[in-house]
């Protein structure tokens, strides 16, 4: 029996060593250690071994089994290493990527979202209103004289109904003050329309962002602080901001706001980004009349309003030279914003 064990061990070790893959190694394992394997069978013979030899044969069996098992394990590790190396050898990490579809948000959405994000952080809530407006909300309540040039059919789109396409988002100021009481603190992004021929700097339909803050003791310092902080968040914390006196029918005093644009390789220049001012008391009077109350008592509340062209902000932000790129939706353009 001792010889038998030695022979099985020798044969098994040879088989294991000869195995070229994991399958033939498994075959070798089954042939030796499986239910009907040679080792299993010979081990069953231990019961017939005379008592005095049992310990020695048992030892021999154990040693043989250990040797075989160890060889199996080592061979398996060796074979797996070979297989792994082979599998990796075919991989060329320098091949180009597969392509995924990459979409993008429109630049206008991106700049609007950035502006809205800053202003909401500053405590403004969103508001909106219709784009097909009436003269009251677009002009009358905004202290615009009945013969103001903006009300011209050459400058503003009218409908047979007498309504018009709002020429600015400032109409949302009126809509909001009709529906809310002070404090009012809103921003309103939206489309506005003017009868301008479309060219490199004009669109007949464009996008604005309106802001309004009405409350007790809202003053010029508030207007200045709010817009300075907003523009510095938008254009960079060191951006210089200046307020130029201007005229709008619905604010007094009124200002236009410039930021100093610093572009590498170009001389810094002031560029107009927004209009603003303290809400004209005449606007409050119109609101109160429309509301039939005195919720916006010009003796008690004051406020400021501002508005800016989002298309223009996008053009400044990304150096877009032709505004029409913003409505042509050329993938070569849109891809740059992915």
């Amino acid at each position: 029996m001792k010889e038998q064990i030695a022979a099985i061990q020798t044969e098994a070790l040879e088989q294991i060593s000869a195995a070229g893959d994991e399958r033939s190694l498994e075959d070798a394992r089954v042939a030796v250690l499986g239910k009907k394997g040679t080792m299993t069978l010979v081990s069953a013979g231990i019961k017939d071994v005379p008592k005095e030899d049992k310990a020695a044969v048992g030892q021999l069996l154990n040693a043989a089994r250990t040797a075989i098992t160890t060889a199996l394990e080592e061979k398996q590790i060796e074979l797996r290493e070979i297989a792994d190396r082979k599998a990796l050898a075919g991989i060329d990490v320098t091949l180009p990527a597969r392509s995924l579809s990459v979409g993008a948000l429109h630049p206008l959405t991106q700049i609007r979202d950035q502006a809205i994000g800053i202003l909401r952080r500053m405590g403004f809530a969103l508001a909106d209103g219709p784009e097909i407006e009436d003269e009251f909300h677009c002009f009358d309540a905004l202290n615009t004289p009945t013969d103001h040039p903006a009300r011209n059919e050459k400058d503003t789109f009218y409908f047979d109904s007498g309504k018009l396409l709002r020429t600015h988002t400032s109409s949302v100021q009126i809509r909001t003050m009709e529906a809310q009481v002070p404090p009012v603190r809103i921003i309103a992004p939206g489309s506005a329309y003017r009868r301008d021929e479309i060219d490199a700097t004009h669109l007949s339909v464009f996008n604005q962002l309106e802001g309004l803050y009405i409350g007790e003791d809202v003053s010029l310092p508030d207007l200045k602080g709010t817009l300075e902080y907003f523009l510095r968040e938008l254009f960079g914390t060191t951006t210089e901001v200046r307020f130029r006196p201007h005229f709008f029918p619905f604010t007094e005093p009124s200002f236009e706001i410039d930021v100093k644009l610093q572009i590498k390789g170009q001389a810094p220049r002031w560029i107009e980004v927004a209009g603003c001012g303290m809400v004209d008391p005449a606007v409050f009077e119109a609101i109160n009349q429309s509301r039939k109350d005195n919720a916006f008592d010009p003796e008690k509340v004051t406020g400021f309003a501002f508005g800016m062209g989002l298309d223009r902000l996008a053009m400044i932000r990304w150096g877009i030279k032709d505004i029409r790129l913003l409505i042509e939706n050329d993938t070569r353009f849109l891809k740059q914003f992915a």
Binding site: G123, F124, A125, E153, Y193, P245, F247, E252, L334
Partner: protein, 793 residues
């Protein structure tokens, strides 16, 4: 408005002020500087040179080789093509390094093989007004070598944008007054002769006192109409005006000097009294620019007793009544016309002039006499003639200002305490206001824009400057609005679509009538639903879009022309319709539109091309609503194929279709174009997110597959409808995993299909045994077999 800096300098001392300082000064006065143009010669290196010799160029018939003395001690050789000079003439010579208008710099060069060290110049080449052809011949006594610059005046032309509330700035005197206030420098004296007003009743009949509260006229006899003197021509040219004749030039000059428009009539062409009246409806008028106009009663005309309209009041003179070279007697009009009437007439007739521009903004009623007196004085000086010294007057100057209170407390609040009351009052005083004994402020007649407390505050804030106001940021809490919620939902949708490879578009909300054929609104359009603008800019932008799809189709078309292979576009925005055949109110609603065509995903070495189909679009919509099941229910749409309603959780949220193949060909698409328009309001509500998580199952589930054989034409919705009826608590879900057809008919009839579904079973409290799974599965198959009349493979 154009302003000449030299002209301005006759009213206040601007010496030592750089152009940049003046630019800033205007800017912070609220006057936008739109352009600054320096006229005259800029370069020092253009000098007086004498032509000493000129010989024929050896290689060019039309060129001469000159030797010029530019005061350098030796002669300079310059090749020149001009013919108008003689040897000995003095001309401008641009030396190497001289920069000429247009930005090019003179260098030393060879012309046709001959050295040329500079350039002899014509007047227009060095920035002077266009002169005769050829070189500018300088006066014989011009010192050789002297910069030509010093022989000619230079000036700065400022192009200014004055806001509509400040008509008082629309003249050099007015602008100077403003600058003097801001600079705290005195305004120089500008003497204006006194006038002798007499009643004009015998000469002027004022029938329209509402439109013309004040009309004055001066008669001057024996004038000689001729070219203006040089100083006058230069004044006008300095602000870009063309001199005409001395009388017209004087009226134009006074307008730009004082801001009051004047008009000179040829008195010989006025029969009887001047009659100021509203026009008769239908009356015709031939303006001096030869344009003909049909007037209405709202237009004001200057007429005479023959009832002929001599001028369209304040807007433009008539072709027949103006001053010509044969005029000897003139009537000089100076009046106050009310802004509204002038604006209406100017707009209606599309006639505008420097005169109407000022009248429609409002001139200074007290300036009417001064302008008349200044013009009369100049006419007598320049054109000769004589006058009785009387100014005929009808009506009276309207008083447009009133005393205004300045509320110190409100001022302090609004300015954030940044200005002391005394400083604020000092600003008002400098602006020409004066404090009455009752504390109210008297406003000068030229500042009719100052009517209320807040108007005074505006002036104070403007002059004080916002840079002196502190910045403050205080927030009042305002709760988020429904619009905030909608905005957040929209951004989620946008980001999801961008992540799915879609490009967001912005298309114009005005579309053409032709594009209406491409609309796919949520509800089909009825007659009269389309909203048209009254006066479209062009046929391309005439209709308020009832759907976003036409815009997306146009964008896709543009990209197809750029050979873009994969077209995935979306846009969120408003759509417009006039619900109920135009009778009801116009409606604005918000939709999300999608367009998909071309490659489903990019191709490459590892990816085969696959044309996107409607199931891709369905998948995108499903991803948009958090993986909910999206179902399409066929419902025809005119002009499209495969029209369907889009349903999520049994709610119709939108409409889907493919462009008709003929329309696709027409637009040069060579792959199917799928479009969908979704109700944004409904989509937002579907983005509820998770309220409460579902516990994860504790026990494993099992699945069973079943292949259902049906006629190939049976819609899958039939199977889904049958499955929807199954009520089996252990069934947790199912999915369609395969559809098999065999056109050859070998494995399956060619008109049949085999649809394989996988069914998932699970109990929450135990692991199901095989019989426990088989039993409900068989029950379901039995129910399906009965319901669909099908067999299972």
């Amino acid at each position: 408005m154009n302003v000449s800096l030299n002209w301005l300098g006759t009213h206040l001392d601007l010496s030592g002020k750089s152009i940049k300082e003046i630019d800033d000064l205007f800017t912070f006065a609220g006057v936008e500087v739109e352009g600054i143009e320096t006229t005259g010669i800029a370069s020092e290196k253009i000098v007086v040179a004498q032509i000493m010799e000129a010989v024929q160029h050896p290689n060019a018939d039309r060129l001469k080789v000159t030797q010029v003395d530019a005061g350098e001690g030796s002669l300079r050789q310059i090749v020149c093509g001009a013919k108008n000079y003689q040897v000995g003439d003095k001309v401008p010579c641009a030396l190497p390094g001289a920069e000429l208008p247009g930005g090019f710099t003179i260098g030393e060069t060879k012309m046709r093989g001959v050295e040329s060290k500079g350039m002899l110049c014509a007047s227009s080449e060095i920035g002077l007004p266009e002169g005769e052809d050829g070189l500018l011949i300088l006066p014989a006594d011009s010192p050789i070598g002297k910069p030509v610059k010093e022989l000619y005046d230079s000036d700065v032309l400022l192009e200014l944008e004055v806001t509509p509330n400040r008509p008082d700035l629309l003249s050099h005197r007015g602008m100077a007054r403003e600058l003097a206030t801001l600079l705290k420098t005195p305004l120089l004296d500008f003497p204006i002769p006194a006038v002798q007003p007499v009643s004009g009743a015998s000469e002027i009949q004022l029938d329209a006192v509402d439109s013309c509260p004040l009309y004055t006229a001066v008669k001057i006899r024996g004038v000689k109409v001729q070219e203006s003197p040089a100083w006058l021509k230069q004044r006008l040219e300095s602000i870009g005006l063309r001199p005409i004749n001395n009388i017209v030039d004087i009226t134009n000059y006074v307008l730009h000097e004082l801001g009051q428009p004047l008009h000179a009539f040829d008195a010989a062409k006025v029969s009887g009294k001047i009659v100021i009246r509203q026009a008769a409806d239908g009356e015709t008028f031939l303006a001096l620019d030869e344009s003909e106009h049909v007037l209405a009663a709202s237009d004001l005309v200057i007429s005479d007793e023959s009832n002929v309209a001599l001028a369209l009041a304040g807007v433009m003179g008539g072709a027949e009544s103006g001053v010509t070279e044969s005029t000897t007697e003139i009537l000089l009009e100076s009046a106050y016309f009310t802004p509204q009437g002038i604006r209406r007439t100017s707009r209606k007739t599309a006639l505008s002039s420097d005169s109407s521009y000022r009248f429609e903004r409002g001139v200074d009623p007290q300036g009417v006499f001064a302008a008349s007196a200044l013009a009369a004085k100049l006419i007598l000086e320049i054109a000769g003639g004589e006058t009785d010294g009387k100014t005929w007057v009808t009506g009276e100057a309207p008083v447009l200002t009133r005393p205004v209170a300045l509320d110190a407390k409100k001022l302090d609040q609004l300015m954030g305490g940044s200005i002391a009351l005394t400083d604020a009052e000092e600003i008002l005083t400098r602006l020409g206001l004066s404090k009455q004994s009752d504390g109210l402020w008297n406003v000068p007649s030229f500042r009719a824009d100052l009517q209320r407390h807040i108007d005074l505050v505006e002036e104070i804030a403007r002059v004080h400057g916002l840079e002196k106001v502190p910045s403050r940021f205080l927030g009042a809490f305002v709760p988020a609005s429904a619009v905030d919620a909608a905005y957040d939902a929209d951004m989620i949708l946008r980001r999801r679509l961008a992540a799915l490879g879609f490009f967001e578009c912005q298309t114009i909300k005005l579309i053409s009538d032709a594009q209406v054929a491409d609309v796919l609104p949520l509800r089909p359009l009825q007659d009269g639903d389309v909203i048209r603008v009254k006066l479209p800019l062009s046929e391309d932008h005439a209709v308020m879009r009832p759907s976003i799809i036409p815009g997306l189709i146009a964008s896709a078309e543009r990209n197809v022309r750029q050979q873009v292979k994969s077209l995935k576009f979306f846009e969120l925005g408003r759509v417009f319709r006039n619900a109920g055949g135009g009778k009801a109110k116009d409606q604005e609603s918000e939709t999300l539109a999608l367009l998909l065509s071309g490659s489903a995903s990019p191709t490459g070495w590892a990816q085969k091309d696959r044309t996107a189909d409607l199931y891709d679009l369905k998948a995108a919509i499903s991803a948009l609503v958090g993986g909910r099941q999206v179902r399409f229910t066929p419902k025809d749409r005119a002009g499209f194929v495969l029209g369907s309603e889009i349903k999520v959780d049994d709610q119709t949220v939108g409409v889907f279709a493919r462009l008709s193949p003929s329309r696709e060909r027409e637009l040069d698409f060579n792959t199917p174009v799928y479009v969908a328009e979704l109700d944004l309001g409904k989509l937002r509500k579907l983005l509820t997110g998770v309220n409460h998580v579902t516990d994860l199952p504790q026990f494993p589930g099992s699945s069973r597959d079943a292949s259902i054989e049906l006629p190939a034409s049976t819609a899958n919705s039939v199977i889904e409808a049958a499955l929807a009826k199954v009520n089996e608590p252990l069934l947790t879900g199912f999915e369609c995993i395969d559809i098999f057809t065999d056109p050859s008919g070998e494995k399956l009839g060619a008109d049949r299909k085999s649809v394989t579904y996988r069914f998932f079973y699970r109990a929450s409290d135990r692991t199901l045994t095989t019989p426990e799974v088989d039993a409900p599965h068989q029950k379901i198959l039995g129910a399906l077999a009965k319901d669909l009349g099908v067999s299972f493979r």
